[in-house]
């Protein structure tokens, strides 16, 4: 009888291509990984045999990831561009997956119909959908799909001992290996070992009448008989794993992953972190969850016993940090490197054949009969409806997961950035994107410019990155202290990395950029703000790289694609036959082991129904708890928490709903009061923690003090608020606070200011800038510089003045030396200076020597997020000398100096005062730069304070800060000897300035105070204007 085309498989393929194809173009580009693979593909498309890529991380090797998928995309990209390549490979992945599941199911069940059902189930498999449409892990999908194609061949080799099957199996395995490295390694353990077990079981079965009669001794006996075949396969497979991606293993050995593990949701406790539970457990399991009892029942039948064990382990490992078992099984190190979601993926794929079997039995088999007999056909139909709607619902939900829970910023138009980088040699420096998400990989794929950041964190090399659990600098705000700490290092010492341009897609980072001395260049058409740093040298034209031997380069370039060609050559005839059914195929022997589905175990029905009830119960319980936690107004604490939560998420209408309705504050008035607020706290802060303390209370009235902790890019702010709450109709409400009624004196006013413009290059030419277009570097004078030891930390403090006639951007770098003039540490000024100085303006500065945080992997970072956290550089020797390198460059922006110190009151421990903004710009973040002097009016210490609220034009703002205790402070060295300005000694410059006119009056603006360790202080102001007009 000629074999007919399996209509279920055909339907599955049509359904799969249509359903996934329709959505693919909307999902794939916003997935986590797809664009990274695209960037790798771009690398192969332009440098096939060169594994070194300069674009990320100051250079990295692409041998850190198996190349086949990337190389395939690269090959297709030669036809229709990179994205064409990406989508083509994605379609191939879909086809491979569906057919793979079909072949695996056929092997597993021996029934073509059941395998057909499994193929259809594969289309809707939520773990597959998630891996493709949410994670974009093409290599992983292709790896497992090809592995499933490989399994029947391995089975046939063991059972028939025909070498053609061994060859076929090995050729397919090679493709798996070159697609994805983790799949074959764990695939060996979790797929191939149980498969061998099943094959042996089937061989035993031939000798006896039923599986029940297969005894352990018989099994052992068979095992020894087939030992040679197994060994041959095992050794060949191992050799393939090593040889096919040899450069990968060499690279792994030379550059072992010693980095601090990056937190991954799949390692969370899914009960505590419900969002991870949803993404890494509920969604990938999907509808399989409700048939779990059936799956386990079937997996633990004798033939599938080994798969049952493997399935159980996979399921367990997939639960991540919910139980301590996966960590114990994998060991601390592997647990922290692996993403455990892949175990769930494999488990759910392994379950597909049996799910197909379940569907077959439910739709047209014995389960249907049993159900109809027991509960009637209506129940069966209802159950069917429930099942199908569950499958489809989950499919739709997981395909569109990024709609419900956006994982990426809005799609960015990359073109203006590319144009910017191509103009005026901007690509001669490194750049850094901020707030781009994985689209930074797409940007990198399209430009030759390099970035210090990157998107494949296993390849990171800079210790600033590897010592912290920071996936990317680009999204550092989501990585708390470590993220912003890392970012701060890059922004403070950008010359080390030749980092000149920052593309900011998130205004959260603006303050940190400004206070690290960066300036806004312009906003591109796509809304991306370009920040630049002056005084950065361009990259050298030849950059260092880690070269690898030629044979490795050739292996890497040739082997992966060859495996593909070999597979085609070996399988072409059979594939042709199988698809078109020209000649009847020999019947594979696993088809003999299909079972007839006659009687469905009634106990399983009852158990499954009970299980479904339990699932529904837990779902209901979860929803109820969710509701309770969100009942916002049942207690004063709840309403305070809800109010601040609403403010944090800028849901002002919700915040308004918690205000006392009897307070006569209209919604319009409230919104208006909120709208005029700007500043660090209202525009750049994220609520971190909130502590509510009841001060006084009775039944209907409570007075509370609320300690709020806010995270801003600059520091962690603690702010105390006081609220009165009233109870109305069993709900608590907050009495709205009074707002500032202050009226500015002038309706319309004018201020004359000097503004500057620098043409840069006056001729429109791509040649080097003509020398006469280059402005002289403004002359700075270092008035004093001192090496200070305080609290076991070393700092350089001092004062410098722009003695030129043009405004200057100032960069100050200090180095410490020991007695034999060896450099101990070097760092730049960060926040503690005014980076932009008008002519004759003076600023104090302080340089702290920051080391690379948590240098050792054993060091634990703090649990909570504190951008203010500071890791002092480890200075083992006592520094005896220091030098100071200052550079001035003409600037024409950020010169707003119109905030005045209106009032100062000094108490024993604190300084209170009022600032007044007399100018035309709204100051978003005012910074106080406080210099402390000893009794002989010598500068000894510098601190800074950011004010949480901004200052609008002609408005006042109060400030208050505690004075420090600096009694233990030690001035180690006080000299301007080794001080250089623009490369010239400071002394020579001082002499050049006309001494005759110099009026010594620097000390007349010091405020006398009785401080701990100081006698005078001076307050200077530095203003960040968020939206200059």
């Amino acid at each position: 009888m000629p074999i007919k085309t399996n209509k279920y498989l055909i339907s599955a393929l049509i359904l799969g291509i249509t359903l996934h194809g329709v959505s693919l173009f909307f999902t794939l580009e916003t997935t986590y990984d797809a664009l990274i693979h695209l960037c790798f593909a771009e690398h192969y498309a332009s440098h096939w045999f060169e594994p070194w890529n300069y674009k990320w991380y100051t250079g990295f090797t692409v041998t850190g990831y198996p190349p086949l998928v990337h190389q395939s995309i690269a090959l297709f990209s030669l036809i229709g561009g990179l994205k064409f390549g990406l989508f083509t490979v994605a379609f191939i992945a879909i086809l491979l997956f569906i057919t793979g599941v079909y072949r695996f199911s056929l092997l597993f069940t021996g029934d073509r119909k059941v395998a057909g059902y499994a193929a259809i189930a594969a289309v809707f498999s939520s773990s597959f959908v998630e891996t493709l449409h949410v994670f974009g892990q093409l290599p992983s999908i292709i790896g497992i799909s090809v592995l499933m194609h490989c399994l029947p061949e391995i089975y046939l080799w063991i059972t028939t001992k025909q070498y053609k099957h061994l060859l076929a199996a090995l050729s397919l395995l090679a493709v798996t290996i070159t697609s994805h490295h983790v799949t074959p390694i764990f695939g060996m353990v979790f797929f191939i070992f149980p498969l061998l077990g099943m094959a042996l079981m089937d061989i035993c079965r031939k000798n006896v009448n039923s599986y029940k009669e297969v005894s352990f001794s018989l099994f052992l006996n068979t095992f020894f008989k087939r030992f040679k075949a197994i060994l041959l396969f095992g050794i060949s497979a191992l050799a393939l794993i090593i040889c096919c991606i040899l450069p990968y293993w060499i690279n792994t050995k030379n550059n072992p992953i010693t980095q601090v593990p990056i937190p991954h949701g799949s390692r969370d406790n899914f009960i505590e972190v419900t969002s991870s539970g949803l993404v890494f457990f509920i969604i990938p399991w999907g509808i399989l969850l409700i048939v779990l009892p059936y799956l386990f029942y079937r997996f633990y039948s004798k033939r599938y016993l080994f798969f049952g064990l493997s399935f159980s382990f996979l399921t367990l490992l997939g639960t991540g940090g919910t139980t301590p078992i996966p960590k114990l099984m994998l060991g601390e190190n592997a647990f922290n490197i692996l993403t455990l979601d892949r175990f769930t993926l494999w488990a759910s794929i392994m379950a597909l054949p049996l799910f197909g079997e379940f569907l077959f039995r439910f739709i047209e088999g014995d389960l249907k009969e049993a159900l109809q007999r027991k509960f009637g056909s209506v129940f069966h139909r209802l159950l069917g409806g429930f099942l199908v709607s569950g499958i489809i619902g989950l499919f739709i939900f997981s395909v569109n997961l990024s709609y419900f829970k956006p994982s990426q910023p809005q799609k960015i138009d990359i073109l203006p950035i590319l144009n910017f980088l191509n103009q005026d040699q901007h690509d001669h420096w490194r750049f850094l994107p901020l707030g781009f998400g994985d689209q930074m990989a797409w940007l990198s794929a399209q430009t030759n410019a390099m970035t210090v950041d990157g998107n494949y964190h296993s390849a990171r090399r800079l210790p600033e990155l590897t010592t912290r659990a920071v996936e990317r600098l680009e999204n550092s705000k989501f990585r708390g202290i470590e993220g912003l700490g890392s970012l701060q290092q890059f922004l403070s010492v950008p010359e080390k990395y030749h980092l000149k341009y920052v593309f900011s897609n998130d205004k959260f980072y603006d303050p940190i950029l400004y206070f690290c001395g960066w300036q806004r260049l312009r906003q591109l058409e796509n809304g991306i703000m370009v920040w630049e740093k002056l005084n950065i040298k361009p990259l050298a034209s030849i950059l260092p790289k880690d070269d690898i031997p030629l044979f490795q380069k050739l292996l890497w370039g040739i082997v992966p694609v060859s495996t593909l060609i070999i597979v085609f050559l070996l399988h072409f005839k059979r594939l042709w036959n199988r698809v078109l059914k020209i000649n009847p195929l020999p019947k594979a022997n696993y088809l003999n082991y299909s079972i007839s589905y006659i009687k469905f175990n009634p106990q399983i029905i009852s158990f499954s129904l009970g299980w479904i009830m339990l699932c529904i119960f837990f779902l209901g319980l979860g929803s109820y708890k969710f509701h309770l936690a969100n009942a916002t107004q049942i207690s004063p604490q709840n309403v305070i928490a809800a109010y601040y939560d609403a403010l944090d998420f800028k849901e002002f209408e919700r915040a308004y709903s918690y205000l006392n309705p009897k307070s006569h504050k209209t919604k319009d008035q409230y919104m208006l009061e909120i709208a005029v607020n700007d500043g660090l706290l209202s525009s750049y802060a994220k609520l971190d923690a909130i502590k509510t303390k009841l001060i006084s209370q009775n039944d209907s009235m409570v007075k509370v003090s609320v300690n709020t902790f806010w995270i801003t890019p600059l520091e962690r702010i603690e702010k105390e608020y006081h609220h009165e709450l009233y109870k109305l109709n069993n709900k608590w409400f907050i009495t709205p606070s009074d707002y500032d009624l202050d009226l500015p004196p002038d309706q319309l006013f004018s201020v004359n200011t000097t503004k500057f413009y620098n043409h840069g290059r006056r001729r429109i030419t791509s040649e080097q800038t003509h020398h006469e277009d280059v402005l002289k570097q403004p002359v700075l004078e270092v008035l004093s510089s001192k090496l200070i030891q305080f609290n076991n930390q070393y700092s350089i403090i001092g004062q410098l003045q722009n003695v030129d006639d043009v405004p200057a951007d100032v960069v100050v770098n200090a180095s410490l030396y020991n007695h034999s003039n060896n450099k101990l540490a070097s760092y730049n000024v960060m926040h503690q200076m005014k980076h932009k100085l008008l002519p004759k303006e003076v600023t104090s500065f302080r340089i702290n020597f920051e080391g690379i945080a948590w240098n050792k992997n054993t060091d634990k970072g703090p649990k909570t997020f504190n951008p203010n956290e500071f890791t002092p550089a480890l200075i083992t020797e006592t520094p005896v000398n220091f030098d100071l390198q200052c550079a001035g460059n003409v600037t024409n922006v950020d010169l707003y100096k119109s905030v005045v110190l209106q009032d100062v009151t000094i108490t024993d421990h604190s300084i209170n005062g009022i600032l007044f903004n007399a100018g035309l710009q709204e100051v978003t973040i005012p910074q106080l730069l406080v210099s402390y002097y000893n009794e002989s009016k010598q500068l000894i210490w510098v601190t800074h304070h950011f004010l949480p609220e901004g200052i609008r034009q002609q408005r006042k703002q109060f400030f208050s800060f505690k004075t420090p205790n600096i009694t233990g402070l030690n001035v180690l060295k006080n000299t301007t000897e080794n001080t250089f300005v623009n490369g010239l000694p400071n002394k020579a410059l001082t002499e050049k300035i006309d001494i005759g006119t110099k009026y010594k009056s620097q000390k007349q603006d010091l405020i006398p105070v009785k401080g701990k360790g100081f006698s005078y202080l001076k307050i200077a102001l530095n203003n960040y204007v968020g939206a200059p007009n």
């Binding site: 006084s696 009775n698 209907s700 009235m701 007075k703 009165e724 009074d738 500032d740 009624l741 202050d742 009226l743 004196p745 002038d746 201020v751 004359n752 200011t753 000097t754 500057f756 020398h771 006469e772 280059v774 402005l775 002289k776 008035l783 003045q801 006639d805 043009v806 405004p807 008008l838 002519p839 004759k840 303006e841 003076v842 010169l895 100096k897 119109s898 005045v900 110190l901 209106q902 009032d903 100062v904 009151t905 007044f916 007399a918 002609q954 006042k956 006309d994 005759g996 006119t997 110099k998 009026y999 010594k1000 009056s1001 620097q1002 007349q1004 603006d1005 010091l1006 405020i1007 006398p1008 307050i1019």
Partner: protein
């Protein structure tokens, strides 16, 4: 050697001829500024003619040559190639720094590199004419090249402005260069102030201005120069405002204090110049702080606060209420006035019946109410 000429001009067709006593294969090894090269001859009867390649014949300098046959040197010699004088001279010129300060001590330097058409330095002592213009002054100087270049320092004058510089060699002129002369260090100046009225209403703005600040030589200082104003108040605190100069005048602003006050104001340009000190008196706007208790003493109304003409004080004046009981401070409340009024409500829930004392402060006035029963 049959060629007698020993000095050639760069770019000239240079052929060296040798008469060979016996016909043999020879070659010429030439060593010049360009490098070492081997030239093969054209034979003309018994003569071997060597034509030097263009890259060698266009380079100025001494060219040593050696006639070689089968590894043995037959003849040594040298010729001198000098800069081309027939073609047009080209001129490279550099000036720097592009900005200097006034007062004769600071200078910029012009460097002229005249070359022939093959980029060889022209002969030493070629005259270069350098002209520069500053204000009404136009000067010309002639200097001579020496080893490739000619240079001249141009000192600033006592005036600020712009110096334009050019140079000419062999009738070839450079482009125009501009050097900015900035004013020198500022000198002491005077300050003045303007205000709308003399009252301490905490609302109007006092404007401070400097006189036109000049440098040592009478030039107006550069625009954008920062002038700091320091204000000493009655508490000996130092307040601060600042202004950037335009046409030598810096303007700074300060809000009027909200209480009677005397300010001593001086200004300075850090470390370079200072001003006189002026004293400004601010009169109190009112002597009266009306306080009214109502609603069984649970509502404290303050106001109407009146300003100097008995008008209501502009909104936003700060009123501070300190509540004490048994000499313990319970709470300090701050409110700002609206229409001259502020009222505080003391809720029963928070202030159980008892005897309290209240201190009310506003506009520099204090009003104490002891032993008030709630």
């Amino acid at each position: 050697m049959t060629t007698s000429q020993s000095v050639f001009e760069a770019g000239e067709h240079i052929t060296l001829a040798f008469e060979l006593s016996t016909p043999t294969t020879v070659s010429l090894v030439c060593h010049s500024a360009y490098g070492t090269t081997i030239v093969t001859p054209n034979y003309d009867l018994a003569d071997a003619l060597f034509t030097l390649p263009e890259n060698t014949s266009t380079k100025k300098g001494i060219l040593d040559f050696k006639l070689i046959s089968k590894g043995t040197s037959l003849y040594n010699g040298s010729i001198n190639i000098i800069a081309n004088t027939k073609n047009k001279t080209s001129l490279e010129s550099y000036i720097g720094p592009p900005s200097i300060s006034a007062g004769t001590h600071d200078y910029t330097m012009l460097v002229v590199v005249p070359t022939d058409s093959y980029d060889n330095p022209i002969a030493n002592n070629t005259p270069v004419s350098i002209k520069h213009q500053f204000l009404d002054d136009q000067k010309e100087a002639s200097i001579k090249t020496n080893d490739l270049m000619a240079w001249k320092t141009i000192h600033s004058d006592k005036k600020s402005g712009r110096i334009l510089v050019s140079s000419t060699v062999n009738a070839v002129s450079s482009k125009e260069f501009a050097v900015e002369v900035f004013p020198s260090q500022p000198t002491n100046f005077t300050i003045d102030y303007h205000r709308k009225h003399t009252y301490a209403d905490g609302n109007q703005i006092t404007t401070f201005t400097t006189s036109v600040i000049k440098d040592t030589y009478g030039n107006t200082i550069s625009d954008g120069t920062l002038v700091d104003f320091t204000i000493k108040n009655q508490n000996n605190s130092l307040l601060k405002t600042q202004g950037m100069s335009i046409n030598g005048v810096a303007t700074a602003f300060m809000l009027h204090p909200d209480h009677e006050e005397i300010w001593n104001v001086s200004a300075h340009i850090n470390g370079m110049a200072t001003s006189n000190t002026i004293t400004i008196n601010y009169k109190a706007v009112t002597e009266k702080l009306p306080v009214h208790f109502s609603n069984a003493n649970r509502r404290i109304s303050i106001g109407p606060l009146q300003s100097f003409m008995e008008q209501l004080i502009p909104d936003g004046a700060i009123v501070k209420l300190t509540i004490t009981k048994n000499e313990q401070i319970l709470e300090t409340k701050l409110k700002t006035t609206a229409n001259g009024m502020v009222s505080f409500d003391l809720e029963k829930g928070f202030y159980p019946p008892g005897t309290y004392s209240f201190i009310i402060e506003a506009l520099g006035l204090t009003s104490i109410h002891s032993n008030i029963k709630l």
